[in-house]
């Protein structure tokens, strides 16, 4: 394999890696938001707190996908 082809292939593998890294956080964010909506519907008076904590949970879950995004650029 020529070096140029190896470079291109590396980029393609990095893309697949980012896709895989996005699967877990995607599921996680779905669970976080779904449960936050349940909490808001059951206890509308606590909706503000649930929303704040929802954004926090999203932020922490999203970190994994962001690391994947950065590794895609580094690779």
């Amino acid at each position: 394999m020529t070096p140029e082809a190896a470079d291109v292939l590396k980029g393609a593998i990095a893309l697949v890696g980012y896709g895989l890294a996005a699967v877990g956080p995607g599921i996680g964010i779905g669970i976080v938001v779904g449960n936050a909506i349940q909490a808001m519907v059951r206890q509308p008076e606590m909706a503000g707190m649930a929303r704040t904590n929802m954004f926090l949970g999203i932020a922490f879950t999203e970190a994994l996908a962001l690391i994947g995004f950065v590794l895609f650029f580094i690779a």
Binding site: M1, A5, V8, T52, F55, A59, E62
Partner: protein, 273 residues
């Protein structure tokens, strides 16, 4: 297989097709100085930073200039609503009563990031300054310095001790949890804070550029105008749909950056919770 990959990677600059950038590091670097003062290059991004700063200063000054009078102007009421939102809903709600002390900093980063993000969807600018790594990186470093300094100031050296040797977990787990906490607080927090903002804005900017540029390329290519419009129009409509979505993302990311800065300060002020 080699031939196929190389054929896909080939990019002839003579043809008027927009190619992938040769160097993705462009996204992280400033380039093409308009003029230089000593070692400081004055690029388009730097100009936009100063523009964002001026807009924030002007809006705040214009909105709050007649705060002595009994009835605020409409614009003044809107600016007051923004200030109240950051002060009450972010600073005081999350940090507690002493959060008032951090409200000026939070308001500063919120308004600066908001204006910087909204440059993405401003016609004739169309470039979010927060998609250059230097700016979210610097803001994250400032937040990092603030919450570390506050942590040591409020708790003394036990801030570090309690982090690496947490008393609330069983003793066998303490080294592991301590290591995870140490890495998470001092290394991962600022990195994810910066990269979250950066990645969202880069992704949005790329998506807008690709979709609208695709529409433009198909519209202006050779051939029957009906066929060109049939291919180009869906790209254009999709691009405009993403445009609206990007406005939401711009506001949401400014809010999340401010919210997380407040939460990190809060964990330094009350580390046991």
């Amino acid at each position: 297989m080699d031939q196929l990959i190389l054929a896909a990677a080939e990019c002839d600059p003579a043809e008027e097709i927009i190619c992938a950038p040769e160097n993705v590091l462009e996204l992280f670097e400033f380039k093409e100085a308009l003029f230089s003062i000593g070692p400081f290059d004055f690029t388009r991004t730097v100009f936009l930073i100063f523009l964002a700063m001026s807009i924030v200063l002007f809006v705040m000054w214009w909105g709050l200039r007649d705060r002595g009078s009994l009835v605020p102007t409409k614009f003044g009421a809107a600016v007051e609503a923004l200030v109240n939102f950051v002060r009450n809903d972010i600073a005081i709600d999350i940090i507690g009563p002493e959060g008032v002390r951090y409200a000026p900093y939070l308001l500063t980063i919120f308004s600066f990031i908001l204006v910087g993000n909204l440059f993405e969807v401003t016609p004739f600018i169309n470039f979010p300054i927060t998609s250059r790594m230097a700016i979210p990186g610097f803001l994250a470093v400032v937040t990092w310095v603030i919450f570390v300094v506050v942590g040591f100031y409020k708790n003394g050296f036990s801030y570090l001790i309690d982090t690496v040797w947490p008393r609330s977990v069983p003793i066998a787990l303490r080294p592991l949890v301590g290591l995870i906490e140490l890495v998470s607080i001092f290394i991962l927090r600022p990195i994810t804070l910066a990269v979250r903002l950066f990645a969202n804005l880069v992704a949005g900017h790329l998506m807008l550029s690709l979709l609208l540029a695709s529409g433009w390329i198909f519209f202006t290519s050779v051939g029957d105008i009906g066929a060109r419009a049939l291919i180009g129009l869906p790209w254009f409509v999709f691009g405009l749909g993403i445009y609206v979505f990007e406005i939401v993302v711009a506001v949401l990311q400014a809010y999340i950056f401010t919210l997380l800065s407040a939460v990190y300060v809060q964990t330094s002020v009350h580390p046991e919770h």
